[in-house]
Symmetry: C2
Subunit: 235 residues, 2 copies
DNA sequence: TAGTGGTCTAGACCACATC
DNA sequence: ATGTGGTCTAGACCACTAC
């Protein structure tokens, strides 16, 4: 009854088995489980292998591990979900549509207070402001409102963003060290509605992202997805 | 200039240094980096330690690793973000507010087609349907519309959800093996608006989640957050 | 077919927190 | 004080795949 596709490594096999014992309630929430040495004997592997398996489950949030106290099944497992930060072009092409984009505005402007604060840069710093619509099969898919800090991304002033997707250019040329990312929902304003070809007031999924490298904030962007868009994560 | 807080382990130190080389463009997108053996010599550690560091960066999406082909800096790094699946009570209490909840509806009902399909259960299967409002300082924070499958969570019929927060009870008693999770935005309908004390049409962030264990789908829930709510992730 | 990463082992030492 | 996990090492064998 417990047979499934076998994970390909010993560590994964052990992780799967331990997960099963937890899900099947052989080991209950709060229980202390056998220590690494004991499990190593039980499974006939080295302790390092058990350690790898249990660290995996601890990362998933299923186990709490502490030196000396041992390993316990998490009582209130606030588990984690991961999602891949989407690249519009790939998203659209993966859906079998033809990708295109149009830059509807590009200007060098002083950063407004809100953006400057979010990026940790002085208010009024000169930045590139871009508004881009991304299309799938000529239907608006995503609206991008981006500020780029030339001091953290030298050379960016010379880029032709009609040819180069701004996100792809940045990510390829200026990898980031640290980022922040938030989801929210907003009612479409007049401009959102016009560019996304929908009605004002429609609920839009908003993804707000800011990234930094050694030199400071690279870029801060607000992505508004077309109505009905759904972003899936993998817990 | 590159001095930062030192990571506490050799593997993390190496990961940090390799990340720095990528961010500082010593190693460019698409470049092949030295193999594990070479880096082990350079850093004066065992190959296993380098392996651990590089696997970490590969998980982050910064490196592509293939046997025989070596390790390359990812060309178009679609990096990952993780967020902790929130537990309402903790969220509210962490914000310094007083948590409370009210079950506004609880019934055993046949699963409607959409829910059954999402859960992979037969249409019309008897399930518990719950509607709960979660409050922070008596202000509506989150609206929960949940279906629970008693066949995957035996004993659930007897639980008093006025006393036990449904999510906490389930998560403590029936850990899940597999889950699905999606974000979207919806305009508040009449009921959403009434329960969240807002206006109809307001944009709401929606989190839709379904979880499974060995016995089948445990629960499927739609969480609607109060207007303006923002969910933060850690890339 | 040979070079690369993936994984495992046996052993070791250490840090930490509980007992 | 002592038992637990955290980490590292040196060595080994294997799987994959680019050459």
């Amino acid at each position: 009854m417990t047979d499934r596709l076998l994970p390909s490594s010993k560590a994964l096999t052990i992780a799967t088995e331990v997960r099963r014992r937890i899900v099947d309630r052989e080991w209950r929430q709060g229980d202390r489980i056998p220590d690494e040495a004991a499990l190593a004997v039980e499974f006939g592997v080295a302790r390092a292998t058990v350690n790898k398996a249990l660290q995996l489950l601890a990362d998933e949030g299923l186990l709490d591990r502490k030196r000396r106290a041992g390993t316990h099944v998490t009582i209130n497992p606030a588990r984690k979900a991961t999602f891949t930060i989407p690249i519009v072009r790939e998203q659209i092409e993966a859906a079998g549509m033809v990708y295109s984009h149009r830059v509807v505005a590009q200007k060098i402007r002083p950063a407004p207070a809100e953006i400057a604060a979010r990026m940790g840069e002085p208010e009024g710093a000169a930045m590139i402001h871009l508004r881009t619509v991304h299309f799938g099969d000529a239907k608006p898919f995503q609206l991008e409102d981006r500020w780029i800090n030339p001091r953290a991304a030298p050379g960016v002033e010379a880029v032709d963003f009609q040819r180069n997707n701004p996100n792809e250019w940045l990510v390829r040329n200026y990898p980031w060290l640290r980022g922040q990312l938030a989801f929210s929902a907003e009612n479409a304003d007049a401009r959102d509605a016009r560019l996304l070809e929908t009605r004002q007031g429609t609920a839009l999924l908003i993804l707000q992202r800011t990234t930094w490298n050694d030199l400071g904030a690279i870029t801060s962007v607000r992505l508004a997805f077309h109505p009905g868009y759904c972003m899936v994560a993998i817990p």
